[in-house]
Symmetry: C2
């Protein structure tokens, strides 16, 4: 079947991880439950977490010597698969093995690894990743929690100076966490060395908070009821010197601070950079949840016959309506494009994190930028397409038993956690503005605008997967004018690239002008062009995604699959151009006639893809048990059609 | 204070209803509760419903002789106010007094009024409005439930022929309803007379389903937990002849059918038309819920200081960011525009429903079209802006205690109930295509396409509130070219009107062409241009909304308020033009330079309105108790700012 062959292409390099999840994570213990109380949901998810297999599994990223597989790519894919079962379970696993365990691996040293990693992998030691504070979400450099070293006792004093400095929204903090990786300002000898992390016990074996630790419960949330998010405050808690996760900064018994990275800001962002996997997991999980929603909506739209065609002997399914296709098929095309982009990102992450020798700074920066941009694109795609799927199912889409409400509620936070999307796009833009050189600069929003404006150089096009292919396609375009076929791939690529370049040039010009007019108003200089800068970042991500899709199609051997993917890619490219047609017209990249022709071609592609809507969702290969939507089991609409045919009156 | 004077303008004609709600519906019994079980929520909402005052209240629309106020406008506004307290309560009240009670009033006659209205108004008799069936959401003409008259027993036999014909998503059906207005196909003497409604007891005094009635529970939903939506099936239930709500169609004891309206379809849509109030309430309630969300997000964005301005001694609030204003202030401008449009709609509804003498068919059709269009616009605005408000509050926006998750989940169904928005926009478009003449034609999607195409005449501009004002403003535009100021109101009006006209002309042309090429493929003729037709309807609604806003500003006496509203109107108009700039450029209505200038002016207006963001939400005058958001009480961010200032290190 075409859908099975398409599935093989989508399953890709970690197909074994995907297939193992589909066959092993089944049965009653992994079925999503509706209408649980918060306590029931937490209980269930903790139970499920402990039953997750280690191999292949989310813990596959840990070093082999402690029981992992040294397979960071596999661990990301395993987490993404959990997102199709239950998003609370995915987040809980991500907190435990990605954030908490990942921080111990990446920021700690052998002392910490030997003592804790096995229990972390087995989930005998559940932990928290305590970075975010109530008063400081995105500006993590400015955390207010302090951890002050005292050489007399050889301990740190961990302290929450005021309410806004309490750690907030921390997974595992409300109930299950026994330890936490706590981020705070390191102070020694009266001097501040920036944000570092400590491994701090927070509860005793009975689950009672330890002396000086106050835990709180974030309580009910929009979704993710199974994750016990909570708050942590510290009242002069004593932390042994050894519990500083000291890979990037060490404090000697006498209080002397040492680090291989002199600059505090740079050190902090290097530390953060090692934790990039979280963003990759969140983006991929959001996209996978969107696939579940689209699968439900497309299958429902296929079975649901809303009206008979007037004057004709044929039934009209919801999926036959152009407006329905405009929503579902275009979102499907985006889902496919993002799948290939995520695939490329996971591969890049895996290769960077398993490379021998010292870290390649340039590749690391590029990975971080791409992870940030794709996390934003995928989570916004999830918010949009799950909402669209819900509406496409009408009243049925509002019932919990049809799964869509849960998918919407659970994924809704993804646009603002693991980095707020807007802040992440600014990070992407900053990387572009400085030619990737200063990407790990301050996250203070708009700091050092004049510096940035001075540093700008021409855009560096980073095309990991298929640089030569892309250039060949662009070069082959026979003049960029009205004569080129609307489905010419090189023309699409050129349009995307041109938009990014032009937006970037314009942003640079406007920043320079602002800097010359009011050099002292750094915030205003950036803020005046914030919309332009964000659009630049979006255009960049659009290009990255299209190029990954093109490269993925190029790798596909099966001609029939390739032809179908190519049509889906046409739709992704042209519907993206259509969404930005105002810009293309403003800048003379499309004539009015050509712009109208793009809309006509999008509609034509929707018609061509109509027979393949179910093929495209079948290839996601999500087990019915995971979809767990009552409307897909009952099919009352089909019964109704038959009954209507039988009606004698 | 400016905000108080602005509030007076917004409160408008039914200010006394709004003020009474704000002062009376307070205290513990009306506070929103988070984390309830479904049973607790249903219990609470039913209790609250019974405690709602009658005057002013949602029941104000009933005739004075039965205890109402004959004030349909007041009843709509009262329902809208409930939407700011608790959306379940609003829906429950809407089901009881709007749909159920409203159907008894509008479709029944004195017999039914005398027997039931007092108990309905007092909420001693809770009831359902049982129209929608599992298999037929939007195509209500094609309901499968039958009600067959038997002259021998002088009773009807009410029957659900198969599963897909069960009534579904029916409020009050799962728990509280004792009677239901049931819509079914009337059959007498072997002949079908189309859909009619009966008043049918469904439960006994103990709440047990009556013989032949099967009730079901829709269970957990995304939101609106306090509304007991459920299912109803009938197994040959005997219904006395008198229980037919027989205002528009009567069955004599011998089975003879009579009606003042010969055509079945026309009769059905006349019956539906009397129930237009439900759509007006849903649209207004969605918009009011959006105001709550925007109030929370704007106040939070004002107090939250995310970053300090680099190199300067000033704090930057979230609201200072252009990207934040792009989301919140433009949504606020839309909220204002829709407020005036809703105000005009409620007035039109009130005037039509309290007019003496026979129904003015033309005004009734226009009211239905406007109610449909504004319901779609307002509910989509609510979905978008509540989502935006949630994201603008970051992680805090995901916690139930901050109210936004509840607002999002509760309102989410509004885009697809009381008429699916897409279907409603098609209804609007059909009205435009036939110059309002055939607006009550079949809802079968695309029936009689050739007929419609033949009937098309030039667009009839209906401008209820300020026809001459609008024309004067448009006529005063000094040539529609680059020279006109970007804030020229006549130019805005001309742009909106021109877009609607041109889209309509194009739709007509394409429909005629399709009809001549393939007259037998009626579905395809319409479906090929469905996106175009929907865009036409959206352009129509945009114009209606702008004109209502302009008329509302014109009525405002207070100069300072007027100036502020005018700026908000500039932003609404230009951000709408900006959102559609692709179209304006494609059609030569904007030059590229002018289009870029529009974006520049939008940003400029955002800056000008920055100091008024809180004024604009304060004028909504939503009591803190109703907003009930923990982040607005705690203000940890402010504490943090002070603490940061105090920090000595």
């Amino acid at each position: 079947m075409l859908s099975s062959r398409l599935q093989e292409v989508l399953d890709g390099r970690w197909a074994h991880v995907r297939k193992a999840a589909r066959s092993e994570l089944t049965g009653d213990e992994f079925v999503t439950v509706f209408g649980e109380t918060i306590d029931e949901a937490r209980e269930r998810v903790t139970r499920q977490l402990r039953r997750l297999p280690a191999d292949p599994g989310v813990a596959a990223g840990f070093p082999i010597e402690y029981g992992g597989q040294a397979d960071p790519g596999g661990s990301v894919v395993a987490a993404e698969m959990l997102a199709q079962i239950d998003l609370s379970l995915m987040v809980k696993a991500g907190v435990q093995w990605g954030l908490f365990g990942g921080a111990v691996v990446a920021l700690g040293t052998k002392y910490h690894h030997d003592r804790y990693l096995r229990d972390i992998i087995s989930a005998d030691l559940l932990g928290c990743f305590a970075m975010t504070e109530t008063g400081h979400g995105s500006d993590v450099q400015q955390l207010r929690t302090t951890c002050t070293y005292d050489p007399a006792t050889q301990t740190f004093d961990l302290h929450t100076p005021h309410d806004a400095a309490r750690k907030d929204y921390i997974g595992n903090a409300a109930r299950d966490g026994r330890m936490a990786v706590v981020f705070a300002q390191l102070i020694s000898g009266g001097k501040r060395y920036g944000v570092h992390a400590w491994l701090v016990p927070i509860r005793d074996e009975d689950g009672k908070p330890l002396p000086g630790v106050t835990t709180g419960d974030d309580g009910h949330k929009a979704g993710l009821l199974g994750v016990d998010n909570g708050r942590l405050s510290f009242d002069h808690v004593s932390v042994p010197r050894e519990m500083l996760l000291d890979r990037y900064g060490q404090v000697a018994p006498d209080g002397t601070y040492t680090s291989s990275i002199d600059n505090d800001v740079r050190r902090f962002f290097t530390m953060l950079g090692t934790l990039v996997r979280g963003r990759v997991v969140v983006g991929g999980s959001a996209a996978n949840a969107a696939k579940s929603a689209l699968t439900i909506a497309v299958r429902y739209g296929e079975s649901r016959r809303q009206f008979g065609a007037p004057g004709e002997d044929r039934e009209i399914a919801l999926n036959d309506y152009l407006a329905h296709q405009r929503v579902l098929t275009t979102n499907l095309a985006t889902a496919y494009a993002l799948h290939f982009a995520q695939d490329e990102l996971v591969t890049a992450l895996h290769d960077v994190q398993t490379a021998d020798g010292p870290v390649d700074e340039h590749r690391q920066r590029e990975l971080e930028s791409r992870a940030a941009g794709l996390k934003a694109a995928q989570t916004w795609h999830a918010t949009r397409s799950i909402q669209a799927a819900r509406e496409a199912c009408g009243g049925a889409g509002y019932l919990a038993e049809n799964r869509l409400p849960g998918l919407k509620a659970d994924t809704d936070v993804f646009t603002t956690f693991e980095g707020d999307n807007t802040v992440l796009l600014q990070l992407v833009a900053k990387g572009l503005l400085t030619g990737y050189r200063d990407a790990f600069g301050s996250l203070d929003g708009w700091g050092r605008a004049t510096f940035v404006a001075d540093q700008v150089r021409s855009m560096v096009l980073e095309r990991t997967a298929a640089r030569s292919l892309i250039e060949r396609l662009i070069d082959a375009v026979p003049g960029r004018d009205e004569e080129v076929a609307l489905t010419n791939r090189g023309w699409h690529l050129a349009l995307f690239e041109d938009r990014e370049k032009h937006l970037l040039d314009g942003a640079v010009r406007r920043l320079r002008k602002g800097a010359s007019l009011k050099p002292e108003r750094q915030f205003d200089i950036f803020n005046d062009v914030q919309d332009h800068v964000l659009e630049t970042a979006r255009a960049h991500v659009d290009r990255i995604v299209l190029e990954a899709f093109v490269a993925g199609i190029d790798r596909t051997a099966d001609d029939e699959v390739k032809a179908l993917l190519s049509k889906v890619c046409d739709l992704y490219a042209l519907s993206t151009v259509e969404a930005n047609k105002g810009w293309y017209l403003e800048h003379g990249r499309l004539t009015p006639a050509r712009s109208k022709a793009v809309t006509g071609m999008v509609n034509d592609l929707l018609r061509q893809l109509r027979p393949h809507m179910t093929t495209l969702v079948d290839a996601f290969a999500i087990p019915d048990e995971w979809l767990n939507a009552a409307i897909l089991r009952e099919e009352p609409a089909r019964q109704d059609v038959m009954a209507a045919h039988d009606a004698t009156l």
